[in-house]
C-alpha cells in the first residue's frame, strides 16, 4: 500500500501534466479495493455452481413464498410510510413557516440516531399485549380491548417508517427549500391555486430527491436484520442468518444472499439514475426561496404534526429507555457492560481509522487521474454500502474460510504442521467487511473536501515556495480536516450500531453492545437491553448534531 513519502507526494502534485501509461500505485490500490467489493458478490453468485437443493426444497415448501410476500409487504409499506412522513414534514419545515419551525427542522432528523432495532424493541415492549400501553387501555376500556398486534407486518412497517423517514425528509427538504415557494408562485401566476400548484409543480419537481431518498430507505429496509428479528418477521436477512447458523449451510445462505443482492441492485441502478437527474433538475433556481407563512389552524396543525412524529419516533422511546436504564442501572452498569463498550469503541475507532486512510488514498487517486477507468474503479469501490450486512458477512466469510483451509492444507502437506485457522474468527474479517460496507460513508465527505483543493491552490502554494510534504501539511490537511472529521464520525457511529456483520463474523464470545442487544431482545429482556441501547443512541446523536450545525444556517 503506497504511503505518502515526499517524492510520491511531489509526484502527485504534478497534476495531470505527466501521463503514465502504466497504472500508478494509486490506481492499483483503487483496483484492489474495487476487487475487494466485487469479491463477496462473485462468491455469492458462484455459490450457485453447487445449489443446495435439499435446503432449497425445504425453503420452497415452507418459507420462500412467505419471504417474498413479507419482503413485498415491507417494501410497499415502508415506502408509503416514509413518503408520507418524509415528504409531508419536508414541505412543512422546508417551504413553510410556523411556530417552532427552526427547531423542528433539525430535531426531526433525530430518529436517525436511533438504530432501527432499538426503536423496534422499545415499541414492542410498549405496545405489545402485555406492555404498559395495552394494559392501561384494558383498565380503561375493559378486558376485551385489543390494539392491532404489533408483531405483524403493520408493526414492522410502522417502526421502520418512523426510524427511516429522515432519509426522505432530509433530501426532500433541501429540494423544497431551494425551489418550493418560487415554483408555487410561478404556478399561481399561471392560474393554479396553491393546492393544485403543489401537486402539479412542486411535488413533481422534487421527484428525483423524493425517489432518491426512498431508494435509500428501501436499501436500509431490505438490509435490516435487527428489527425484523425482534419482530420475528421473516425476511431474506433472517433467512440467510438461519440458513447459516440454523441449518449450517453456507451455500444456502450464499444463494439466498444472491437473491437479495439482485433486489438491492435494482434499487441502486434506480438511485444512480435519479442522482443524475437531480443534477439537471437544479438548472436555474434561486438558492433560497422565501417561506410560506401559515396562519390560523394550519399554523398550529403544522406544529402539532411535527411534535407528534418527533414524540412517537424519538422522545417517547428515549424516555422509555431512560426509565428502564434507571431501573436496572445498578445491576447492569458493571464490568461486563464496560467490556462490551470497550469492544464497540475499539471496533468503531479502528474501522474509522482504516477506512478514512483508504478513502483518502482513493480520493487522491481520483484527484490525480480523472480518466474514465479510475472513475469507474472508484464507483465500484464505494458500492459496498448497498450490500446488506448479512449478505456481506456470508460473502466475506466464504472466501476467507477457503483461504484458511488452503493454508492449513499447505502447512499440513509441506511442513506436517497442524495449523489453526488464521483468519476466521478474528477482528480482521470484521474490519474487512466494514471496509467494504462503510467505504462510501468515508469517501463522500473526504472527496467533497478534496474537490475544494483545486489544482490552482497547488499552483498558488507552489508559487509561494510550498511543495511536497509541507504543502500537504500546511495546505491540504487543513482544507481536508473537516471532511476527514465528518468521515471518522460517520464511520465510527455506523460501526457502533452495526449488527449483522458483527454478529455473524465476530471472534467467539467477543460481544459488542449491538450483539448484546440482539441476544437480550431475542429473549425479551427489554429492560436489560436499555443501557446498551441508550449508549448507542447517544453515540448516534453525534453526527446528527454535526449535520444540524451544517443545515441550520438558514
Amino acid at each position: 500500500m503506497p504511503t505518502l513519502p515526499a517524492e510520491n507526494a511531489g509526484a502527485l502534485l504534478q497534476g495531470s501534466g505527466r501521463r503514465l501509461s502504466w497504472p500508478s500505485g494509486w490506481q492499483w490500490l483503487t483496483l484492489l479495493i474495487a476487487l475487494l467489493v466485487l469479491m463477496p458478490l462473485s462468491v455469492l453468485f458462484l455459490a450457485w455452481l453447487e445449489p443446495a437443493w435439499d435446503i432449497w426444497r425445504h425453503l420452497q415448501q415452507t418459507l420462500l413464498g412467505l419471504l417474498l410476500l413479507n419482503t413485498f409487504k415491507l417494501v410497499v409499506g415502508v415506502s408509503a410510510g416514509t413518503l408520507l412522513l418524509g415528504v409531508g414534514l419536508a414541505w412543512l419545515t422546508g417551504a413553510c413557516d410556523f411556530p417552532g419551525r427552526r427547531h423542528f427542522s433539525w430535531t426531526l432528523l433525530l430518529p436517525l440516531a436511533m438504530p432501527t432495532y432499538v426503536l423496534a424493541f422499545v415499541f414492542l415492549a410498549l405496545f405489545d399485549f402485555s406492555g404498559p400501553v395495552q394494559t392501561q387501555l384494558r383498565l380503561w376500556f375493559g378486558q376485551g380491548f385489543r390494539l392491532p398486534d404489533m408483531r405483524s407486518a403493520g408493526g414492522v412497517v410502522l417502526v421502520m417508517s418512523l426510524a427511516l423517514y429522515p432519509y426522505v425528509y432530509l433530501l426532500t427538504r433541501n429540494a423544497f427549500r431551494t425551489q418550493g415557494k418560487r415554483a408555487l408562485e410561478a404556478a399561481q401566476s399561471l392560474g393554479c391555486s396553491p393546492t393544485v400548484g403543489f401537486f402539479r409543480v412542486v411535488l413533481p419537481m422534487a421527484r428525483p430527491w423524493i425517489a432518491g431518498g426512498t431508494a435509500l430507505v428501501l436499501m436500509e429496509a431490505l438490509a435490516d436484520f435487527g428489527a425484523v428479528s425482534i419482530f420475528n418477521y421473516d425476511t431474506f436477512t433472517t433467512a440467510i442468518y438461519k440458513a447459516w447458523f440454523g441449518f449450517f449451510s453456507l451455500p444456502a445462505a450464499a444463494q439466498l444472499s444472491s437473491l437479495l443482492v439482485v433486489l438491492v441492485f435494482g434499487l441502486i441502478v434506480m438511485e444512480q439514475q435519479l442522482r443524475k437527474r437531480m443534477r439537471f433538475a437544479q438548472s436555474r433556481l434561486a438558492p433560497q426561496a422565501e417561506r410560506i407563512q401559515l396562519h390560523g389552524w394550519h399554523k398550529w396543525g403544522a406544529t402539532a404534526a411535527c411534535s407528534l412524529v418527533l414524540g412517537i419516533a424519538f422522545v417517547l422511546p428515549t424516555l422509555q429507555l431512560l426509565r428502564w436504564t434507571l431501573e436496572v442501572y445498578h445491576q447492569e452498569f458493571n464490568r461486563r457492560y464496560l467490556d462490551l463498550l470497550g469492544h464497540s469503541l475499539l471496533l468503531g475507532l479502528s474501522a474509522a481509522l482504516l477506512i478514512v486512510t483508504v478513502a483518502l488514498l482513493i480520493a487522491y487517486c481520483g484527484r490525480r487521474h480523472n480518466d474514465r477507468l479510475t472513475g469507474s474503479l472508484i464507483r465500484v469501490s464505494t458500492l459496498g454500502y448497498a450490500l446488506p450486512g448479512t449478505v456481506l458477512a456470508v460473502g466475506i466469510f466464504i472466501p476467507l474460510a477457503g483461504l484458511d483451509n488452503l493454508l492449513i492444507d499447505l502447512a499440513r502437506s509441506l511442513f506436517e504442521i497442524e495449523m489453526k485457522p488464521l483468519l476466521q474468527g478474528t477482528i480482521f474479517v470484521m474490519l474487512l467487511a466494514y471496509l467494504i460496507r462503510f467505504m462510501a460513508a468515508g469517501f463522500k465527505p473526504i472527496d467533497s473536501a478534496m474537490h475544494r483543493v483545486t489544482p490552482n491552490i497547488d499552483e498558488a502554494s507552489r508559487l509561494m515556495g510550498l511543495r511536497g510534504l509541507r504543502l500537504l501539511w500546511r495546505i491540504h490537511l487543513p482544507m481536508l480536516r473537516g471532511g476527514i472529521f465528518t468521515a471518522l464520525t460517520l464511520i465510527f457511529v455506523d460501526v457502533m450500531k452495526e449488527m449483522p456483520i458483527t454478529l455473524m463474523t465476530r471472534p467467539f464470545g467477543w460481544d459488542t453492545l449491538a450483539v448484546k442487544i440482539y441476544e437480550l431482545t431475542s429473549e425479551g429482556e427489554w429492560e436489560r437491553a436499555a443501557l446498551p441501547a441508550l449508549t448507542l443512541l447517544l453515540s448516534g446523536m453525534i453526527p446528527i448534531v454535526l449535520l444540524m450545525r451544517q443545515t441550520d444556517e438558514d
Binding site: R182, A183, E185, A186, A187, Q188, S189, L190, G191, C192, S193, P194, R200, V201, P204, M205, R207, F280, A281, Q282, S283, R284, L285, A286
Partner: protein, 353 residues
C-alpha cells in the same frame, strides 16, 4: 394621468410594510392598454415589493389596486394570484425543470380545449422564436432561450397584465441589450400591457414607454425616458438617470442664467425671481470641446469609452462638469482644455442651505 376606468393597471396610494418598516409609501400609478411601464431604482427601494403586491403575493397595508377595472387588492382583501389574469416572468425564470419547453409554455393553458391549447402554445413559442426547441428541457437550452421560454409561458394564457421581475439581470451584457429590444418588440406586437422592474436604466430606456424612478418606497417621477433624462424633477432623479453634474447659477433674466460657464440662454423652467441662486444640471453632452474657446477647464480624470472620452473637468470657480468628447481629442489629466457650453434645457433646482 388619465381616467382610471379605461386603464389596465391602477395603483391608488398603496402602502406596504414588512413588520414595522414601511417599504412602499403612498404609491400611485396607472398603465393604459398596451403600455409598457417600468419601475427603476436601486435594490431595496421597494420596486420588487410593488410588483409582488400587484401579483397578489403580498398583502396591502393601504390603498387599492385595480387590474382591468376590477379591484384585486385592498387592505384585508386579496384576490388570489391565480384569479388576477396576470402573467409573471421571474428573475430566475422559475421554469419547471421537470417539464419540456412545450409543457412549460402550455402549463397555464390547462382547461382550454386540446386544439386551442396546441394552437396557443405554438403561437407563443413562435412569437418568441423557439418553436424548434419545444421538445427540449430547460437545462438543455441557453440562458437567453430560457428567458424567452419564461416570457412565452407568461403570455400564452393572454393575461390582462404581464409582470416581469428584473427580467434581464441573469443574462450577460451583450445578450441583455439584444433581448431587451426583442422583448419590447414581442410585447408591442402582442399588445401586452406590462410592468417590469429593473435597476438598470438602459433596460428601462430600451423597453419601457413610461418609467417610474423609485427611491425609499416612493416614485420620484413617473414619465417617459426622454423627460426623465431632460426634465428630471429633482436632483435625485437627475443623478440616478444619466450622468452629469450640478453647478451653481443665478437667474439673471427671462430664460437667462449666469454660471461659471458664462451666461446661458434657453428654455428655463423656473419661476423664481431674477437674482435667485439655483443649481443647474449639466449633462456631459451639454459641454462641447473647442480649442478656440476662451473658457478653459482643467482635466481631472478621463475615462476612455472607445468612440468618445468622458472628461471630468474643473471650472475656474471650483464647480465640476463632465464632457463627452470624440476620442481623437486626447488630453491628459492636468491639461487645460477649451470648452463651450451647449445647454438647451436649463434644468434648475433650488439651492438648499
Amino acid at each position: 394621468m388619465s381616467d382610471a376606468s379605461s386603464s389596465i393597471l391602477d395603483l391608488q396610494q398603496i402602502s406596504q410594510a414588512y413588520g414595522s418598516q414601511l417599504v412602499v409609501k403612498d404609491l400611485s400609478l396607472t398603465l393604459e392598454a398596451g403600455e409598457i411601464g417600468c419601475l427603476l431604482g436601486a435594490s431595496g427601494c421597494g420596486k420588487t415589493t410593488v410588483l409582488r403586491t400587484v401579483a397578489g403575493f403580498e398583502p396591502l397595508l393601504q390603498g387599492e389596486i385595480r387590474i382591468a377595472g376590477e379591484i384585486v387588492s385592498r387592505p384585508g382583501e386579496m384576490l388570489p394570484p391565480a384569479k388576477r389574469r396576470i402573467g409573471m416572468v421571474f428573475q430566475d425564470y422559475a421554469l419547471f425543470p421537470h417539464l419540456s419547453v412545450f409543457d412549460n409554455v402550455a402549463f397555464g393553458l390547462r382547461g382550454t380545449g386540446r386544439v386551442e391549447l396546441l394552437r396557443r402554445t405554438n403561437e407563443a413559442l413562435e412569437l418568441v422564436g423557439l418553436y424548434a426547441e419545444h421538445k427540449k428541457y430547460p437545462h438543455e437550452i441557453s440562458g437567453g432561450q430560457q428567458q424567452r421560454v419564461a416570457l412565452a409561458r407568461a403570455i400564452a394564457p393572454r393575461p390582462a397584465l404581464l409582470l416581469m421581475d428584473e427580467p434581464f439581470s441573469n443574462l450577460d451584457v451583450s445578450l441583455r441589450e439584444r433581448l431587451s429590444m426583442e422583448v419590447r418588440d414581442i410585447l408591442k406586437e402582442n399588445g401586452t400591457t406590462s410592468l417590469f422592474v429593473t435597476h438598470n436604466q438602459h433596460e428601462a430606456f430600451a423597453v419601457a414607454d413610461r418609467i417610474g424612478v423609485m427611491a425609499g418606497g416612493e416614485i420620484l417621477q413617473w414619465d417617459s425616458a426622454h423627460n426623465l433624462y431632460h426634465q428630471p424633477v429633482s436632483p435625485q432623479v437627475a443623478k440616478f438617470v444619466g450622468e452629469g453634474e450640478l453647478i451653481a447659477g443665478q437667474i439673471s433674466g427671462r430664460g437667462e442664467l449666469t454660471t461659471a460657464l458664462g451666461t446661458l440662454c434657453g428654455e428655463l423652467n423656473d419661476a423664481r425671481p431674477v437674482g435667485s441662486a439655483v443649481q443647474l444640471l449639466v449633462r456631459p453632452e451639454d459641454i462641447v470641446h473647442d480649442d478656440e474657446s476662451s473658457l478653459k477647464a482643467e482635466v481631472l480624470r478621463r475615462s476612455f469609452r472607445g468612440a468618445s472620452i468622458l472628461y471630468h473637468l474643473l471650472l475656474q470657480n471650483g464647480d465640476r462638469v463632465q464632457a463627452l468628447v470624440p476620442s481623437h481629442c486626447d488630453h491628459q489629466p492636468g491639461e487645460k482644455i477649451g470648452i463651450q457650453p451647449d445647454v438647451r434645457h436649463l434644468v434648475t433646482f433650488p439651492v438648499y442651505v
